[in-house]
Symmetry: C2
């Protein structure tokens, strides 16, 4: 099984890069796992809605160029559907059983994802009503992907 | 303003302790902030429901002993109410305006909180339908407390 995170911008804090490296290592036991970081656009201070929209569009176009046919695409967005960890694990198994070549999860930059790329996704997934920085969010997503595999494999995972 | 996290068990991974230290430092700009870690109970492998209940009860009794009158108590529990970051920020301001001496947030151990301590709380708050390890959850909570103060103070905080 191939899993990939497509995201915009870099992790800046060392503790986040270390946490991401640790989860990537753990995930490599279960799947071919990859994180692809795409460049983020500079947003001016106090940006206008049009400036924000332009930044999002550029960032999301870069993501779309990386998406291939046959991938199961999950867009992470607060307006999406909330799943439990067990339901996310099932969504992964289902995608595999239906012969999807890869699961790709999209994390937008500071201003999120465009409507177009959300429309392209097979699932728009929300973790929470709360807003998290995209840095910590990446670690939260990694932890849930890891948890999904532990659930699929019936392995215990202490909460 | 005084804010305290009461939690069961220690952070084990270095990246989590470093992230917690960084957020605690940032929070000290805004409030008197404290994390109090209480000991966790050993859970046997493949525990019975009664064993789990006993562990939870012991752990939560330790928490209750630390709670004083006049505190605004928030229990973190997946069955709780979901708030947005803005709503959590308002809950903090409201508690202060009503003259509460301190806000205390409770994170249970591996098996969560008892019904009794949830009943004692002013607010039972859920971050997500998903289950997170209590280690990463502590960082998520710290990030949301920090975000709440940034919102209260009208300071920008890049997502």
């Amino acid at each position: 099984m191939k899993i990939r995170i497509l995201c915009t911008g870099r992790l800046k804090e060392r503790f986040y890069t270390e946490a991401a490296a640790e989860f990537s290592k753990r995930l490599s036991r279960f799947c071919e796992f990859e994180i692809l970081e795409l460049p983020d656009e500079k947003v001016p201070d106090d940006p206008s809605p049009a400036q924000i929209e332009a930044v999002k569009r550029t960032e999301c176009r870069r993501m779309e160029e990386k998406l291939g046919a046959g991938e199961y695409v999950i867009a992470l967005d607060p307006r999406g559907k909330q799943l439990s960890s067990e339901e996310l694990s099932e969504a992964f198994s289902d995608a595999m059983l239906r012969g999807r070549s890869r699961i790709t999860l999209l994390i937008g930059g500071s201003h999120g994802l465009t409507q177009e790329i959300r429309g392209r996704a097979d699932l728009v997934l929300s973790f929470s009503r709360m807003t998290f920085s995209h840095q910590i969010f990446r670690i939260m997503l990694l932890e849930q992907i890891y948890r999904a595999f532990k659930i699929m494999n019936g392995e215990p995972y202490h909460k």
